[in-house]
């Protein structure tokens, strides 16, 4: 890279999509309802996702009430219980986490962090949200149709998903499948926007290798989602046809309630392959944005550059690529060829390498850093612990011989909650505490934040650590009640009671968080433009919260990467990305050239 002595940028031609014509709404509805501003769309996405996520939280309470205190509540019967389990899982994975990370954080942070005025296709972006909202409404509608929502488990395996006897096997399952199809269509609209904005709308000087890791995480997760969601789409279409028109893609010849049905010859395993071809990448669709965000939180709050930036980027890509060749580790007990099991166990264990690299790099970033134990940092450190815990039990379940006896036990539930529920949620919380001051101009309350963190962190461990043990005892998942099983000691029930109590407390702690969100909006401590002394572009905006168009009359110019914290020989402990190099840096640069 040659050094060019002058620093005049006025004549530099603008980037292809650098300056864009913005749509300027004049009415309240145009500004806040049919909004084309990515920041408003981000809030719409987040509020909807968190809203439906609260429904799923209540469902998990109901489920836990039954498990902790069996038969005590007249309003929970076996059908309801299965419906709670199913809807809790589907909502949390797809409608909350995917939508919140990509639609919420993606929309808010991508344009600001890459130095763009907005997404490249604002109209499509708006459409994406409204299609998502429609999908959520279809999902909610399924609670109110005859038979209620589907109770087939979030994996929706045929044949049981569409047979009489499974709750919600008529309208419920149809609404579920159609809602998923709409979700995917809406996501594709948004996803195209995120990818193309990152590729094309970066401001001058912002190379891909200067992007904050948050953007990298969201970028790769979006690519994964764009490629993996079609598998869910394909299986949803085929199952809908089996259900409504009577085709036999997945449905074998079957006798239901003493009657031979018209189906014949179909393969439920085919559905499992398609579902998990989506389902496993989905884990990383949720995890990669969390990885990216947590990298930035750790770097900012430890006042240190991220350790091994390029390695982190390659690890994100490697994890994304590998996630497409591990899907059948969810199907060890499906009766597939055992040699496949060997192959998929191997690929599954290989994925531990880039993942471990990331964990080491986070820890090495903390090493001798100037660690500020702010609330976002607490959540970030909590994430590292939880992710390591969940990842280690993943090694158990990735191995066929260990996985088979643990299949469909509470051990599996504990594993995936640690790795893709608690861990990403900790990041979501940390990220909200971190960026709330930018979104509203005010801090969230620190004391309430710490209460929220400790109850959530310790509470989650009180829920899921004992659950691993229940799994070892052989306690099955998804069972309404366990009776007549001699191998499970009676004391397992007392663990279930304590887990339920912990779950209620963790849930209540989230209400503290909600209260904090509302209260601080008007009463929080004013934060100023860059309260964490961070380097990335979203903190360098003219206004806080950023105005329509994000930056002032000129887009920022980027001279450096996002991690110039505690640079040796520089007085300030951070240098914003848009700050030109100092004389000393220039002389270094000349030497390099």
């Amino acid at each position: 890279m040659a050094y060019i002595a002058h620093d005049e940028t006025a004549h530099v031609p603008p980037a292809e999509t650098g300056e864009m014509e913005l749509y300027h709404p004049k009415t309240f509805i145009g500004k806040y309802i049919w909004s084309q501003d990515a920041k408003v769309i981000a809030i719409q996405y987040s509020v909807t996702a968190i809203g439906i996520g609260l429904v799923a939280l209540v469902l998990s309470w109901l489920m836990r009430l039954q498990l902790g205190f069996p038969q005590q509540f007249s309003f929970i019967d076996p059908s309801n219980y299965l419906q709670f389990v199913t809807m809790h899982g589907m909502i949390m994975v797809v409608y909350l986490l995917t939508a919140l990370f990509l639609g919420g954080f993606g929309n808010y942070l991508i344009p600001l962090m890459v130095g763009a005025r907005d997404m490249v296709f604002p109209y499509l972006n708006m459409l994406s949200y409204w299609v998502y909202l429609f999908a959520v409404m279809l999902l909610v509608a399924s609670f109110f149709v005859p038979g209620g929502p589907t109770g087939a488990g979030w994996t929706l395996y045929p044949p049981q998903a569409i047979l009489d006897g499974t709750p919600g096997s008529n309208a419920g399952i149809i609404l579920m499948l159609v809602s998923l199809a709409f979700f995917i269509i809406g996501f594709t609209m948004g996803g195209l926007n995120y990818v193309v904005t990152i590729l094309q709308a970066r401001t001058r000087g912002m190379t891909m290798m200067r992007l904050p890791l948050t953007v990298w995480g969201i970028f790769m997760a979006t690519i994964l989602a764009l490629l993996a969601f079609p598998a869910l789409f394909v299986s949803a279409i085929m199952m809908t046809l089996d259900l409504t028109l009577g085709t036999s893609f997945f449905m074998p010849a079957i006798v239901s309630k003493g009657q031979q049905l018209d189906y014949g010859g179909g393969s439920p395993i085919l559905f499992q392959h398609l579902f998990w071809f989506f389902g496993h990448p989905e884990v990383y669709i949720v995890a990669l944005p969390a990885f990216g965000i947590v990298s930035d939180l750790i770097s900012v709050h430890a006042r240190k550059n991220i350790f091994g930036y390029r390695m982190m980027v390659w690890a994100i890509l490697a994890i994304g690529g590998l996630s497409f060749v591990v899907w059948a580790h969810h199907m060890y007990v499906s009766g597939m060829n055992p040699y496949f099991g060997f192959f998929f166990a191997t690929t599954t264990l290989i994925i531990a390498i880039p993942t471990a690299l990331k964990v080491y790099n986070w820890v090495l970033t903390l090493w001798r850093g100037n660690i500020h134990l702010t609330v976002p940092m607490l959540f970030a450190i909590g994430f590292i612990f939880t992710f390591i815990n969940g990842g280690l039990t993943g090694l158990f379940l990735g191995n066929v011989t260990v996985s088979v006896p643990l299949s469909d036990t509470m051990f599996v539930v504990a594993h995936f909650h640690m790795v893709m529920a608690v861990a990403p949620v900790l990041v979501v919380c940390g990220a909200i505490y971190h960026w709330y001051p930018k979104i509203t101009g005010r801090f969230l309350d620190d004391t309430l934040g710490k209460i929220h963190f400790w109850f959530t962190f310790v509470g989650s461990y009180s829920i899921y650590l004992p659950m691993h043990y229940l799994g070892f005892l052989g306690v099955p998942r998804r069972y309404f009640a366990i009776e007549g099983t001699d191998f499970i000691p009676a004391s397992a029930q007392s663990l279930n009671v304590s887990i339920t109590i912990a779950a209620l407390i963790v849930g209540a702690a989230q209400l503290v968080f909600l209260y904090n969100l509302f209260r601080s909006y008007s009463k929080g401590k004013p934060a100023g433009g860059n309260p964490w002394n961070a380097t990335t572009l979203e903190w360098q905006t003219e206004h806080t919260p950023p105005a329509h168009g994000n930056f002032g009359p000129e887009l920022p110019l980027v001279y450096r990467w996002a991690y110039d914290y505690s640079v040796p020989g520089v007085e300030a402990d951070f240098i914003p990305q848009n700050q030109p190099p100092s004389a000393k840096e220039k002389s270094l640069e000349e030497k390099e050239a």
Binding site: V196, M208, L227, L241, Y563, E592
Partner: protein, 220 residues
């Protein structure tokens, strides 16, 4: 799932190659005093064109998964292959012509010939409708012969795949329609050139998809 895996591998190879170009020889930690010397690495293509390519990757993923499902379902005992009506060959010919007409239209747009552009759009649109009508007739012929959607998975796949392919063409026709309206209203040729170019790429892509689906049908 081999087909889907091969497609994913190809897409991943493209991404790895691209990322390699971004990372090799860069030292992200160095500040540079000139934003001018820094290549952002953005493509010279327009954002709309890039988003079409990304969208085609999504559609490719979907069709490859359907083809994977097709092969897996085919290996089960109850599969009975369909006859291939002669009309399918005719329809394929029509779709090839459509693509050629699109290419011709694009050439006209590039040369700024508005009269030829109009004719080209008209012909390619008409041929596309002819293809869709032809596919409907094939459906009718097969139903008359007793090959109903539910009677065999081979039939179900045939109807489903042809329907999806046709739906994608219909989606393309929406853009074609918008472009044509602009042209008829007398918008400058230069201003619609990009739309015509992207329509052409999309039509070529859907021709390729159809040729693969047709080959799949003939070979099984």
């Amino acid at each position: 799932m081999t087909t889907a895996l091969l497609v994913m591998a190809a897409i991943m190879a493209v991404i790895v190659g691209w990322l390699f170009k971004q990372t090799v020889n860069t030292q992200p930690w160095l500040a540079q005093s000139s934003v001018e010397a820094v290549q952002r690495g953005a493509s010279s293509q327009t954002s709309v064109a890039i988003s079409l390519w990304v969208f085609l990757a999504v559609v490719t993923s979907m069709f490859s998964l359907f083809i994977s499902a097709y092969y897996m379902r085919m290996s089960l005992a109850d599969w009975k292959s369909l006859p291939e009506p002669g009309l399918l060959w005719f329809n394929t010919g029509v779709l090839v012509l459509t693509s050629a007409a699109m290419q011709w239209t694009l050439a006209a747009a590039k040369r700024g010939q508005s009269a030829r552009l109009r004719n080209g759009l008209l012909v390619s649109g008409a041929l596309t409708f002819a293809f869709l009508a032809g596919q409907l007739v094939v459906w009718q012929q097969l139903t008359e012969l007793g090959y109903f959607l539910t009677s065999n998975p081979a039939n179900a796949f045939f109807y489903l795949l042809t329907a999806l392919h046709a739906l994608h063409l219909l989606g393309g026709l929406v853009v074609w329609g918008r472009t044509s309206i602009k042209v008829w209203r007398g918008v400058e040729v230069k201003k619609v050139q990009l739309s015509v170019a992207l329509c052409t790429a999309y039509w070529h892509y859907l021709l390729l998809v159809w040729l693969i689906l047709f080959a799949l049908l003939l070979s099984t």
